[in-house]
């Protein structure tokens, strides 16, 4: 089962006919994901490698009963693509695009949250945005809606994984895979300052997922998402959680690649995050391989 995506996910790709969109559409299909259609405004009515292409999300969704959209649209149009999907009532929207202006994301995230609330108030399942600047998500052995290398997901398992970083997601997933534990669902939430879904939003889903026994949280410097996650864990989680924080030796005031990875004043320091996890009794691995040991220890308790 896992969370958010599975065998029943019917995925459309916004920006399918672009370079990234095309190659990852193929890779998702290879993984076994039900990729049902593409959306490229102006190319509606054409065929792309066997997939029908539509001018709008609304058309594609209606024609294929799609329930997930993944977005590879360039930065200038990415927030609009999110809003298009959200207004079309797409329950899950995954924004891969890196480099979206922060103001665009502020506006889009706020609007998606409003639409989500309205949709839920009307009895819908809600509207969720994952990302941007994220690798997407994958439920091992079922469906990948993202850009992770397929080959690190050969061993389905029972560990949930949430990460702000793309490459560290792969690193962790591979470690878990190679250790024979494997992952249930991996969620890359993204490295931008303003994102659709945070650690604290994903944790309750794993807590409720019968196929997940423990959760690994890969955080980094900047912001206070890890602190919020720690607070949520302390108050609500019964399943064990293991954390990792990257950028612990980064200096203040310098942006470490991710627009969100910056220590500003006293906000976003590794000390604050370590203290928060300690207070929540969440072990924090010093190196990534330690994650494996800690997960094993937690599961054997």
């Amino acid at each position: 089962m896992g969370i958010l995506v599975d065998n029943n996910s019917r995925v459309i790709v916004q920006g399918m006919t672009g370079r990234e969109g095309a190659s990852h559409s193929r890779a998702m299909k290879e993984f076994g994901t039900q990729v049902v259609a593409g959306v490229t405004p102006g190319k509606g009515g054409t065929d792309f490698e066997g997939w029908p292409v539509y001018n709008s999300v609304a058309e594609a969704k209606a024609a294929h009963d799609a329930n997930v959209s993944i977005i590879f649209v360039p930065p200038a149009g990415a927030a609009d693509a999110v809003l298009e999907a959200a207004h079309a009532g797409m329950p899950l929207i995954v924004l891969i695009t890196e480099g979206v202006p922060t103001v665009d994301m502020m506006k889009a995230v706020q609007e998606v949250k409003t639409l989500d609330a309205l949709n839920r108030a009307e009895g819908g399942q809600g509207i969720r945005l994952i990302g941007g600047n994220c690798p997407g998500l994958v439920t091992n052995g079922q469906a990948k809606v993202g850009i992770m290398p397929n080959k690190i997901y050969t061993n389905p398992g029972r560990i949930g994984l949430i990460s702000r970083s793309g490459t560290l997601t792969y690193e962790a997933a591979k470690l878990l895979n190679d250790a024979g534990m494997g992952t249930s669902t991996t969620v890359g939430i993204g490295g931008d300052p303003v994102i659709g879904t945070t650690f604290a939003d994903v944790l309750p889903l794993f807590e409720a997922d019968p196929d997940t026994d423990a959760i690994v949280v890969i955080g980094e410097i900047g912001g206070a998402d890890e602190e919020a996650a720690a607070e949520y864990i302390a108050q609500h989680m019964k399943k064990p959680v293991v954390a990792f924080i990257s950028g612990r030796s980064a200096p203040k005031g310098k942006r470490m690649g991710h627009a969100g990875a910056i220590i500003m004043g006293d906000v976003g320091t590794p000390e604050s995050k370590l203290a928060a996890f300690a207070a929540a009794n969440v072990p924090v691995a010093d190196t990534m391989p330690e994650i494996i040991d800690m997960v094993k220890a937690a599961l054997n308790k």
Partner: protein, 386 residues
């Protein structure tokens, strides 16, 4: 992109903020001419992209033309934290004692997924200092990114912050600052001090303004405000290659990898190994030989770097491509420092074969990032005689 004070003021002025008069000078004679034109005491202020210029002697009150010229001579050409002052802003001096200094600013706040407006009656000092000493004196307010700050909200914040003076005009300045932030994609904007004179009218005396690099494509009119001479030369070169590069102080190991997270972790691993990272360099996804070549070339130019640690997790990346790039750098005579690599990717064996063929001790592959980092640290520290 960080803006100079005079540039930030120019933007605020475009949005109708009442900004202290001032002009830019590049020579002491120009400073004198501006002081003469204003016919009143002026302040000569260094325009450099570092904090603490006041303490470094980069801001000087100049009661007369002659004094302004003299201060211009002192400040122009001055070195502040490694940056040379090429420009000064000459502003009309204000009688600070006759009024009050406040702080208003807006930052992108991950926690509220929007801007947070901050206001404090403790103006004229760094907001971090206020936050550390008297956090209760900072009023915070989430700004709706779609509507922007509204006048009534600005008034409520100003009242809570204890601002005195013309409430409507002070609120109006905050609203205009919010418009400037949203329209100009600010990551950070501050008006500090926001001076309120005896007439109650607010005046922006100094500002910080930083624009979201992701949004620069829609601010083409500001593109030539980017001052390459004010940035680290390696950062300029890195931006040409499209790398995310940050020069780090006091380092001896050059670090490069594919992805912000893995590079951040690489810095940590170098630290644990007892050395210091000299840079952050993310070469992005898909690393072909040429990209690796350019990255190695860039890092090699840094005289602080005594050894290079390459950490690649390749989904798509091929280890042999990485090896080829490094070998090419070696063959071209660019690479003179040891390279310690960990490449988790396809074609690891091919990479090993290529390296064996070259047979240079300068280039070695290791199965884990820890071993590679340990070797790089050992090499770098040894080169420094540690």
């Amino acid at each position: 992109m960080k803006l100079h004070e005079y540039q930030g003021k120019e933007i605020l002025r475009q949005f109708g903020v009442n900004v202290q008069d001032g002009k830019v000078a590049r020579t002491p004679d120009e400073v004198r001419a501006i002081a003469r034109e204003y016919g009143q005491p002026v302040v000569v202020k260094a325009q450099v992209h570092v904090g603490g210029r006041g303490k470094a002697g980069g801001v000087k009150f100049s009661p007369t033309e002659d004094k302004a010229f003299e201060n211009g001579e002192k400040i122009l050409g001055m070195d502040i934290k490694g940056l040379t002052v090429n420009k000064v802003l000459v502003t009309k001096a204000v009688d600070i004692d006759a009024g009050v200094e406040y702080y208003v600013g807006m930052i992108v706040d991950r926690n509220v997924q929007s801007y947070t407006l901050m206001a404090s009656a403790e103006g004229g000092m760094e907001i971090e200092e206020v936050a550390a000493a008297t956090p209760e004196k900072i009023i915070k307010h989430r700004v709706d990114p779609v509507t922007g700050l509204r006048p009534y909200e600005a008034r409520e914040v100003a009242i809570k912050a204890g601002f005195k003076g013309n409430l409507n005009k002070i609120a109006d300045m905050m609203v205009k600052m919010s418009e400037a932030a949203l329209k100009r994609d600010a990551v950070l904007v501050e008006i500090n001090p926001l001076f309120v004179g005896p007439d109650g009218i607010p005046l922006a005396l100094d500002t910080k303004f930083e624009i979201d690099d992701n949004a620069m494509y829609r601010h083409a009119d500001l593109a030539d405000w980017r001052e390459l001479e004010a940035e680290h030369p390696l950062e300029i070169e890195a931006s040409k290659y499209g790398f995310a590069y940050v020069k780090l102080d006091d380092g001896n190991v050059g670090v490069l990898g594919n992805g912000a997270g893995i590079v951040m972790t690489s810095l940590d691993v170098v630290n644990r190994a007892g050395a210091k990272p000299a840079n952050f360099l993310d070469i992005g996804g898909g690393a072909k030989a040429e990209i690796v070549y350019n990255a190695v070339k860039l890092v090699s130019k840094d005289t602080d770097v005594k050894a290079i640690f390459i950490n690649i997790f390749g989904g798509i990346t091929r280890a042999d491509e990485v090896a080829k790039g490094v070998i090419q750098a070696l063959n071209d005579g660019i690479l003179t420092k040891p390279v310690r690599m960990r490449i988790a990717g396809t074609a690891e064996d091919e990479a090993k074969a290529l390296l064996a063929e070259v047979g240079s001790p300068l280039i070695q592959m290791y199965p884990t990032m820890f071993e590679a980092a340990d070797e790089a640290a050992k090499d770098a520290n040894a080169a420094e005689g540690k």
